[in-house]
């Protein structure tokens, strides 16, 4: 009895296996062996920062493309792209690593509340209804759409300032937060040597008076930084200064001339004057 059962079940198994073997041979999809290798080299974060819906889609795009120009995995950066290029026998551009910066410095003290919003704490919903709870309609809401969009835990709203802060070591410059921000406050900038960066932390395009009235840290469009810059790195448009990170030589001369402190320097050693003052 038991032998019959084993024979039937075992026989069916063997039959099916044989059948499946031949079917799989017959309908085999020829896959480029390079694809698996490229996928292996990618960080498997599936963040979509490359513009493709995940790492495997990006890998197949790399394999199919005739050259790697315009294809970049922002998470892996140049290192990963170099690996991919070696696998595929193509060349990859050396791309400078980038990092997200938040261009709003209107913290709770600098930017006083003019009204209250008690609706859904979601930046995109709020931006359809309101300019914001302060006099500056360009500034950050602080409801954390960027935080929710980041898959790397690299940006978080600081409750004491009400502004998002980028954790540089985690930021991969995938650009998810840039797309999530309805106020377009987040910019991907060149990471800079030793992560040193100078940027205008404001997006207020109002004239000086109203901008200053709304926020103590606003760029008022006075153009002092433009005059100070010896490298033509700063441009003024719509009452707002912008520092071109490719032209900026990180001399830091624009930072002290800004009357509102809208220009931010990051990761620099303390200034000489300041250091001397401390010693004495």
């Amino acid at each position: 009895m038991i032998v019959t059962a084993i024979c039937i079940v075992g026989g069916t198994g063997v039959l099916c296996a044989t059948l499946l073997y031949f079917i799989s041979k017959k309908f085999e999809v020829a896959e480029n062996p390079l694809l698996a290798q490229v996928q292996e080299a990618l960080p498997a974060a599936n963040c979509g920062g490359c513009g493709y819906p995940g790492c495997s889609a990006f890998a197949s795009a790399c394999v199919k493309a005739s050259s790697l120009d315009g294809l970049l995995c922002p998470v892996g950066g140049s290192d990963v792209m170099a690996k991919v290029a070696t696998i595929l026998g193509k060349t990859a551009d050396n791309v400078e690593p980038r990092v997200a910066v938040v261009r709003c410095n209107g913290n709770c003290e600098a930017r006083l509340r003019t009204n209250q919003y008690d609706g859904t704490r979601n930046c995109r919903i709020a931006s359809q209804l309101y300019g914001g709870e302060t006099g500056c309609s360009f500034g950050c809401f602080g409801y954390g759409d960027c935080e929710a969009a980041c898959t790397f835990g690299a940006i978080a709203v600081n409750p004491s300032t009400g502004l998002p802060e980028v954790i540089e070591s985690k930021c991969t410059a995938c650009g998810a937060c840039v797309k999530a921000c309805p106020k377009n406050l987040i910019e991907l900038r060149r990471r800079g040597p030793k992560s040193r960066r100078i940027y205008v932390s404001c997006m207020n395009r109002d004239k000086g008076g109203p901008a200053r009235k709304a926020c103590d840290n606003a760029c008022i469009g006075c153009s002092k930084c433009v005059k100070e810059c010896a490298f033509d790195a700063i441009t003024m448009a719509n009452n707002l200064a912008f520092i071109d990170s490719l032209k900026c030589r990180l001399c830091r001369k624009c930072v002290p001339v800004c009357p509102t402190g809208a220009i931010i320097e990051l990761n620099f050693p303390p200034r000489k004057e300041a250091a001397e003052a401390k010693e004495s």
């Binding site: 003019t114 009204n115 008690d118 609706g119 859904t120 979601n122 995109r124 919903i125 359809q128 209804l129 309101y130 300019g131 914001g132 309609s137 109002d206 109203p210």
Partner: protein
């Protein structure tokens, strides 16, 4: 049984405290702030510069395209500046600031109260006069009226529907206007019928305004083709598609214009403005604004010049010292404003001042799958599904479930026992879906 629309709808308490109160002329503001974008479409282009002397009714900005509207000076005086001014949502928009001196009107504007009934103008001349006067939909949507009177080729209007429903709680501006200027509204209606080349018009009024129904029915007897339809109280009956369904039992297809159902809907306030523009040569420089709510001592209907700061009307009605929320429009579809200094615009039918206690949103809880929102939605949508789609950024789901058809009436959020902000999310999904649809073209 009284007529009403067939799908969904709610019945919030009417709270029409200012009903039956006569229209009071509000003081002319000492400075008028006239935004250049008071309508849907392209902003108007300013024609004046600093220091120019203006009279009431002087054209100060011309339409910036076909879907746009002219703007006339609501006061006489001198242009102080053309500068950014806060709009209702706290964003800055260009506006013309005018310092008032006296009250001198442009010549040719008939300010007498004599009623002129005969209109011999051709449809083209009527549309031109309406276009010139800068008339937009006065119910709050502010869609330029001349565009609605110029149906796209291939469409023919069969009936004109006048929206005198005023289904929003609290608001009484159309009601007050009907009681004070019933005959003018009917003349305006017949002018609009002439412009559209239709022989039938229906004026839809909810049954909570029996005095207006009685008055207009009596007056309509002497107008050919105009009937007054008493409708069951139901929100959002004033929605264009709902009103068409209520009166002629036709539904407008998803994504189609109301004209595809053979109907053109105009607001009662618009009909009055059309009468004044065509028969009296008076541009749109003032409108009736209801000021009401628990936050004011004396709810009232004011005839206010465009550009009057909301604060002035609120003070005239005795506003409490710390109101909770100031809403431009009604409680259902109106918008809480960021500042009381913003001006009355062409689409501002009311100012609702809520006390601090009633303006707070309640704590959101989980969806209990009761489907009250599904029953309430007048467009037959599934609000809870759409909210989920919006929360998880599933825009394809939102699109295939017709997020773009939402009329933003807020019935879903109103009935939700878990106080879920359904409309907030659906509005976001609608914006996103429309953005995606545009990018596909």
């Amino acid at each position: 049984m009284q007529k009403t629309f067939r799908i969904g709808g709610i019945h919030p308490p009417a709270n029409k405290w200012s009903a039956g109160k006569a229209i009071v002329k509000a003081d002319i503001p000492s400075q008028a702030i006239v935004p250049l974008a008071q309508h849907i479409g392209a902003p108007a282009q300013a024609l004046v510069k600093k220091g120019d002397k203006l009279k009431v009714g002087t054209l100060i900005a011309k339409a910036g395209g076909f879907v746009s509207a002219n703007i006339h000076s609501p006061v006489s005086g001198a242009v102080l500046k053309i500068d950014e001014s806060l709009d209702a949502s706290g964003y800055k928009r260009p506006a013309i600031f005018i310092d008032t001196e006296g009250d001198e009107w442009e010549e040719g504007i008939d300010l007498s109260s004599e009623i002129r009934r005969d209109c011999k103008l051709s449809p083209q001349e009527i549309v031109a006069a309406i276009n010139q006067a800068g008339i937009v939909g006065m119910g709050g949507a502010t869609f330029p009226t001349h565009v609605k009177l110029t149906p796209p080729s291939g469409f023919k209007a069969e009936i004109l529907i006048i929206n005198a429903v005023e289904c929003e709680p609290f608001l009484t501006s159309d009601h007050a206007l009907m009681l004070a200027h019933g005959e003018e509204i009917l003349i305006g209606t017949s002018i609009l019928m002439r412009a559209l080349g239709v022989s039938k018009a229906a004026i839809g009024i909810e049954s909570n305004k029996p005095d207006a129904i009685a008055l207009l029915s009596r007056l309509a007897a002497s107008f050919e083709g105009i009937t007054v339809v008493s409708l069951k109280e139901r929100y959002p009956q004033g929605g264009e598609k709902q009103l068409i369904d209520a009166i002629i039992r036709r539904q407008v297809k998803s994504g189609a214009l109301p004209i595809s159902a053979g109907a053109v809907v105009q607001n009662a306030g618009t009909a009055f403005a059309v009468y004044e523009a065509v028969q009296k040569n008076k541009p749109l420089v003032e409108r009736v604004v209801t000021v009401t709510g628990r936050g004011v001592g004396n709810p009232a209907n004011y005839l206010a010049r465009i550009g009057t700061p909301l604060r002035q009307l609120m003070e005239a009605s005795g506003v409490i010292s710390h109101p909770g929320k100031i809403i431009s429009g009604g409680p259902m579809m109106g918008k809480a404003v960021a500042s009381a200094e913003i001006p009355v615009t062409k689409g501002c039918s009311g100012i609702l001042i809520l006390s601090a206690s009633e303006s707070k949103r309640k704590q959101m809880r989980n969806c209990i799958r009761c489907a009250k929102c599904v029953d309430a939605c007048p467009m037959g949508l599934n609000p809870t599904l759409l909210m989920n789609a919006a929360e998880f950024a599933a825009w394809d789901t939102a699109e295939s479930n017709y997020a773009a058809d939402c009329i933003e009436c807020g019935s879903c959020s109103y009935v939700c026992p878990s106080h879920r902000p359904l409309l907030d999310h659906i509005r976001m999904a609608k914006g996103k879906v429309m953005e995606i649809a545009r990018s596909r073209k």
